[in-house]
Subunit: 350 residues, 3 copies
Amino acid sequence: MQFNEIIENLKQGQSGVVDFKIKNNPVILAAASLDKAKVNDISFLDNNSPLNLRNLLEISKASALLLPANDNYIVEMTKKIQVDWILLKEPKIAFAETLEFLYPSNIESEGIHKSAVIGTNVKISPGVSIGANVYIGDNTEIGAGTVVHAGVVVYKNVSIGAKNLIHANSVIHSGSTLGDECVINANAVIGGEGFGFVPTSNGWKKMPQVGIVILKNKVEVGSGSTIDRPSVGETIIGEDTKIDNLVQIGHGVTTGKSCAMAAQVGIAGGAQIGDGVILAGQVGVSNRVKIGDRVIASSKTGIVSNVEAGKVVSGFPALPNKLWLRCSANFKKLPEIAKAVRQLDRRNSR
Amino acid sequence: MQFNEIIENLKQGQSGVVDFKIKNNPVILAAASLDKAKVNDISFLDNNSPLNLRNLLEISKASALLLPANDNYIVEMTKKIQVDWILLKEPKIAFAETLEFLYPSNIESEGIHKSAVIGTNVKISPGVSIGANVYIGDNTEIGAGTVVHAGVVVYKNVSIGAKNLIHANSVIHSGSTLGDECVINANAVIGGEGFGFVPTSNGWKKMPQVGIVILKNKVEVGSGSTIDRPSVGETIIGEDTKIDNLVQIGHGVTTGKSCAMAAQVGIAGGAQIGDGVILAGQVGVSNRVKIGDRVIASSKTGIVSNVEAGKVVSGFPALPNKLWLRCSANFKKLPEIAKAVRQLDRRNSR
Amino acid sequence: MQFNEIIENLKQGQSGVVDFKIKNNPVILAAASLDKAKVNDISFLDNNSPLNLRNLLEISKASALLLPANDNYIVEMTKKIQVDWILLKEPKIAFAETLEFLYPSNIESEGIHKSAVIGTNVKISPGVSIGANVYIGDNTEIGAGTVVHAGVVVYKNVSIGAKNLIHANSVIHSGSTLGDECVINANAVIGGEGFGFVPTSNGWKKMPQVGIVILKNKVEVGSGSTIDRPSVGETIIGEDTKIDNLVQIGHGVTTGKSCAMAAQVGIAGGAQIGDGVILAGQVGVSNRVKIGDRVIASSKTGIVSNVEAGKVVSGFPALPNKLWLRCSANFKKLPEIAKAVRQLDRRNSR
């Protein structure tokens, strides 16, 4: 693809082309980060990039650059650099779109592999691809254009919408409902039984888990992540919510739209999470906690009580982020503080 | 099922029926939480429920209620409410039993699917169900009534007892021994090799892991959880111990009876855990630590040294829970404390 | 195997035989820990073992012992004990080697199981074993002596070297490259798409993940662990690096040689990790952080900024280990410290 074609493509997209220079109009063969780029690669610098990345601009071997338009330093630099460039409102979105042009994901339906085992009364829409050694349980429905990779197991009575991508060896339990355009990554488990046991004098009594899991449209679930069904009712993951690898979502959790949960997050049963909530890696959320819209929790935060919309929280138990930063800064001075207190005490008790 | 039938069934169970009112004797079609219940649903309120749940009683649309007998406020309320109810010593157990009546899990043996691959010298008892694309290694035994779902891989020389439920795509390694009535959830791994490497001048030297994993009766293992075998000897999970999703149990760990380990708990090699221990989500336990009977660790606790029986611990490194609560309360005052110390210091050094 | 044969075998190995006593020359049938050993077992005591293990020497029922040569107390004791022994520079390595003699892992090629599904243009070298219900995608290569267990899914265009051991139901995505002598444990996922989404006014925009994962020689990946591919470029795991269970390695991470990452470690995207780095259980590493060679992080550490080579760090956010130990010791005195400060304040404000 030549550089001018990329410009034309980006103009159709969401990244906001502001200006560009076509001088060499190089053939673009690949995309790469600034430090790894070679001749005929395209690379990008995001808005507000740190200095160590900005400094790479002058030494990068990339043949074309996607650059932030709202950055005077960069705009000045474009006057000097030899390679072709595009100034954009959203250079990261431009890079994502460019990757789509350069590396189209040609998901062609391969039909139903002869080794797949399909139950009775299964409804498979046109254009569905079902890989080798897949098992689909009775009464399950799979919408148009969905791709089910090798080794996937879908239990009975599951409803899977259109254009889903279900990766190898993942498991979807009975009663689960997936919307359209979801991605289930490899070895994820959707709709396993919630962890519900009642103590009795005779050991644990199991609380039957007869509820279901619902994934709305455009939900993505990372490799090895697990989303449990509840005893009654539903576990619901809201539209466009993205879940990274090895995340645990307990029974009866509900999340709003467009949340992001990074790897190894754990959300205990019944937690209610608003729209646009971002939980960084290894965050934990306790049973039945309510988290308002647009809350952000930094890595390893433990949220044990409700959090109001818009708050940024950190630490365990979670504190407002700015307070936590100050507390942490003082935590590392604790030996000095303790020593000062001992000295004051001694002096005062004379 | 009609309401009076549920009463009769509960009388046979463990929940302790104290009193009831049959007036409408509704048909009960489903079970639901108080806030989600519709007409013809049954719902429950547990002992010592918080106010926000208790307040739902008056507005719930449920047609029948399971209520705590030991609660004067509730007993008074039963005189006023229109719907039928049962007063119970253990309403949560009653709800679990009611779910069993309403949603019987009809696990019927489906025999051995023709796509399953069974090794040589495998002993399969009557009533065993083996799903599609399962692999069973040589010399393995499977007890009566056990269900092995699609895609499961059982290596050689495994002993599986009666009435186990082994969910899709889980893996059981050579030498593992499962008792009766265990549940292995999807994508769990039982008996993988422990993480044992000895540093040498030439890199890591692998310590062979030739031990085995033993799960006693009624053990449940969550989706994606991993239980490793040791270099020599056994990793043992005690009877009735319940393990949630994405839990790691290291090589050579032993646990007692009726423990509960919530999601994402990690227990390092050689730890010895007593009976009735409860570890909340994301708890970590260090190598070879001994934890006494009935210890409770709250979420994210890091247990790095032995804990005596009956203790409740929190934080990292673990402290007695009450102490930790007070320390945490003061942690968030650290900026003030540090400021006060600086001021005192200044004043005193004048 | 008789005891004298073990001595002869160990002399060929890396453990440094210093002295030995052959008196009974017992038949050795098995290996065990000191406390569990029975007659005809061999056991060992490592260098610098704690007292509770040393005390087991006198009561162990083992028929032969591997003991540290650099320990005067032990050397004295060898003069008194009845059983045969070997003094070694590295008794733990000797034990590892002895396990190899006693329990040889006879991995014999079983050829390609007839239920395996092999794509087009797949190159399979001699001596490769492919288990039941395996799927191998088009254009993939598998080197000599590699064993692929039942249920594994390998996507298209994967390169797998020689003598790899790939356990059941693991998944290897397109473009991944494995060196020689790697071990992929059950249900691990290599090369899943990185978690890359760009916020837009219209929800999340996916950053295509078109990079690849490279595992160098002798890499081991634990059960259920996930290693993601990046948007562009490579995620690289260095030679001889060992990864435990349920570990998450984000997109674009690079690690050096001979690192060890314990269970449930999470490494966020773009982190750069040196040689010989050891991360204990549940450690988290933030985006793009650089960790120098031979850094050690104790359990649950959260590394949010660069760490210089050779440092030992602990806590969250990570501090030098010794400082953190002192801060933690003072954390549990916070209630007293706060009280002392209040009293001083009161006295001073009189």
